[in-house]
């Protein structure tokens, strides 16, 4: 009897191939896509109420995007060969094509948008700071000191265009990750056309929740007044996005249960045993139903500011846990059952190996470290700007580009 195996598994299936780090990867890219969509709410969809979090959301997206390739590098048997994905990409492989989507998104969308948004500040800071910091800002100006009002209007128009392109790019960024799983016909837990869409909506949910939490944390740390109208609006969008996400996941579940094809009995058993805690308790119960209930309550009844803040804090924290559990259930769940539908294996998380728990914790903390550095370098707060924040976009005639 093979330890950890119940029933029969093909001999090579017993050991899991994609570990905790591969759970982390879609989680991180999901946060990127979600944070960016929140930023685009103001820029493209004219939801003016969320303006205070615009820059914050962009920096959040960048911090997580920079960390995103790291779990993959740690997972690869030969990370030193990873450049091959760019040199000889196999066009039929979603994984290869994703490398280019990532690069496109990082450079042409995110970095460009951040540069255009912050240019006035960067030029100003290049003139007012000293030492190494000054060199950094000078490099960031790319040699141009042109911050005339006319130039800033052009910046704004181009920035608007970049955001418009950025929205489908963000969809592509995380939709692709869903496709990487959804296109594997060998694995019935993964293979569904719904996968990219479910991934996308859960990404948006987690990204919006993350920015909301970071906004609450940042205002507390900086001892600034929090804009409740902004917070309430973000929470509203979170609620609706989460509702759609939940609907899609329930659709998948109901569809499977109804059709009850060859794989169903095996998968059903797996959910009831190996995946009970992470799927039913964490993902659905604590991670979806409770946050949805909290958010629905705030939509239906007017609570006091302090109570609302507490409810948002609880809802967002649970949401982030729930979406992580969802990634776990997809990636790990997809490898716990045998493709013969006759057995199950177990996943034991290692601690100190390359793909172990400590690496995962480190990788989850790193984006916050980067975020703090970015916030120090490129302050997102209205007080610190040379030209007023709302003035910038209004003067440029947002939407009239």
């Amino acid at each position: 009897m093979v330890p950890g195996v119940d029933g029969f598994m093909y001999p090579n299936e017993v050991e899991l191939q994609w570990s905790l780090l591969i759970v982390l990867y879609p989680y991180i890219t999901g946060l990127v896509a979600g944070a960016f969509i929140l930023a685009s709410l103001e820029r493209v969809f004219k939801v003016e109420a969320v303006r205070p979090t615009y820059r914050l959301a962009l920096l959040t997206a960048l911090a997580f995007l920079l960390v995103a390739p790291l779990p993959l590098q740690l997972h690869l048997g030969h990370p030193e060969r990873s450049l091959e994905m760019y040199l000889t990409p196999h066009r039929s492989s979603a994984m290869a094509m994703f490398g280019f989507v990532y690069l496109w998104y990082l450079t042409v969308v995110l970095l460009l948008e951040i540069w255009l948004e912050y240019r006035a500040d960067i030029v100003r800071l290049a003139q007012t700071t000293r030492g190494v910091t000054r060199l950094i800002y000078k490099a960031l100006t790319l040699g141009s000191q042109n911050v005339s009002p006319a130039a800033r209007i052009i910046d704004d128009k181009v920035g608007y265009t970049v955001t418009v392109i950025g929205v489908p790019s963000a969809f592509l960024l995380h939709g692709y990750v869903g496709f990487i799983f959804g296109s594997i016909k060998a694995n019935p837990w993964w293979s569904t056309p719904l996968m990219p869409i479910v991934f996308l909506f859960s990404a948006m949910t987690s990204g919006i929740a993350a920015v909301l939490l970071l906004y609450m944390a940042s205002t507390k740390v900086k001892k600034m007044a929090i804009d409740m109208r902004c917070l309430d609006t973000i929470a509203k969008y979170l609620f609706y996005t989460f509702l759609i996400d939940f609907t899609l996941e329930m659709l998948d579940l109901i569809h499977r249960t109804y059709e009850a094809d060859e794989s169903f009995r095996s998968l059903d058993f797996m959910v009831h045993t190996r995946l009970w805690f992470s799927q039913v308790v964490l993902q659905i119960g604590l991670g979806t139903l409770i946050p949805l209930a909290l958010l629905a309550a705030t939509q239906l009844r007017k609570f006091s500011e302090a109570v609302r803040r507490g409810m948002y804090l609880a809802a967002c924290s649970l949401t982030l846990v729930g979406i992580f559990a969802m990634r776990w259930n997809v990636v790990i769940g997809g490898q716990l059952f045998s493709k013969s539908f006759l057995g199950y294996t177990t996943y034991k998380v290692a601690f100190v190996t390359r793909e172990g728990l400590f690496s995962a914790i480190g990788l989850m903390l790193l984006p916050f470290v980067i975020f703090v550095v970015l916030v120090k370098l490129l302050p997102p707060w209205p007080e610190n700007q040379a030209v007023g924040v709302s003035e910038d976009h209004v003067a440029a005639g947002v939407g009239s580009a």
């Binding site: 990409p89 492989s93 013969s340």
Partner: protein, 246 residues
């Protein structure tokens, strides 16, 4: 400060130098093409397996392991024993992949048989489809191979294979699997598993060879591939495969 013509010349000049360096390197690093008596275009390899002849001795598993240096606990080929009681789910086992054969089960009241398994060398291989860099591929003579000096070890192909025939080599950190003993069959030998099968249950076949027994075999017998609904173009044909086999 705007871009001047001078700036453009400096940048252009630097690019030109880089380009010529690159071109020289390319000449040096280019690889030589293979050329000898074995012509890939003349062959299209596969295998036929006769379930009724398999005795579950495990010779194939041992031979493959020795011939190809397969690491312990991983399997390029393995044998499964099915025991099917009427109206119930089949009971399947493969103790250490059948490296040491099977301990007698003692059960005589059920339908039981052995099923040898290996890479099916699919013509429309889903594992080749998902490889991001081209480290696994279908050779022109129909064998699915792994380029171990190019493989990243991402294991996407392991996930995509419906048959569970791939694994990550623990020492090389690249993906490994049955190569249909490519190093043997291109020299006129048969695969290690077929060579050592005492009953001839496993036989290497070449679909492009008009004299190969496979043509008569396919014409005269009821044959099946594993998981035909996956439409992978599997080239390992089983004679007398029971419908319960997964």
């Amino acid at each position: 400060m705007d871009i001047t013509r001078r700036d453009l010349f400096t940048i252009g000049g630097k690019l030109l130098v880089l380009a010529s360096v690159g071109a020289t390197l390319e000449q040096i690093i280019g690889a030589a093409a293979p050329s000898d008596a074995y012509k890939m275009a003349d062959h299209w390899w596969g295998m036929i397996i006769d379930i009724d002849k398999c005795i579950g001795c495990g010779n194939c598993v041992r031979a493959c392991s020795k011939e190809n240096g397969v690491p312990k606990g991983y399997f390029r080929t393995w044998v499964e024993r099915y025991e099917i009681e009427e109206g119930k789910q089949p009971r399947v086992e493969s103790p250490d992949g059948a490296m040491d054969g099977f301990p007698p089960s003692g059960r005589t009241d059920v339908k039981s048989f052995y099923v040898p398994k290996l890479c099916n060398h699919c013509a429309d291989s889903p594992c080749v489809q998902v490889c991001p860099v081209g480290a696994t591929f279908v050779s022109p003579d129909g064998v699915v191979l792994v380029d171990e000096s190019y493989c990243l070890g991402c294991r996407y192909c392991v996930q995509a294979c419906p048959y569970g025939c791939r694994y990550l080599h623990p020492d090389k950190d690249t993906v490994d699997k049955c190569s249909l003993c490519y190093h043997r069959i291109t020299q006129g030998l048969t695969t290690a598993c077929c060579e050592n099968c005492p009953t001839g249950a496993r036989q290497l076949v070449d679909f492009k060879n008009p004299q190969d027994p496979v043509h008569e075999f396919l014409r005269k017998n009821k044959v099946e591939v594993l998981k035909p609904y996956m439409a992978t173009g599997a080239k390992v044909y089983y004679k007398d495969l029971d419908g319960a086999v997964r």
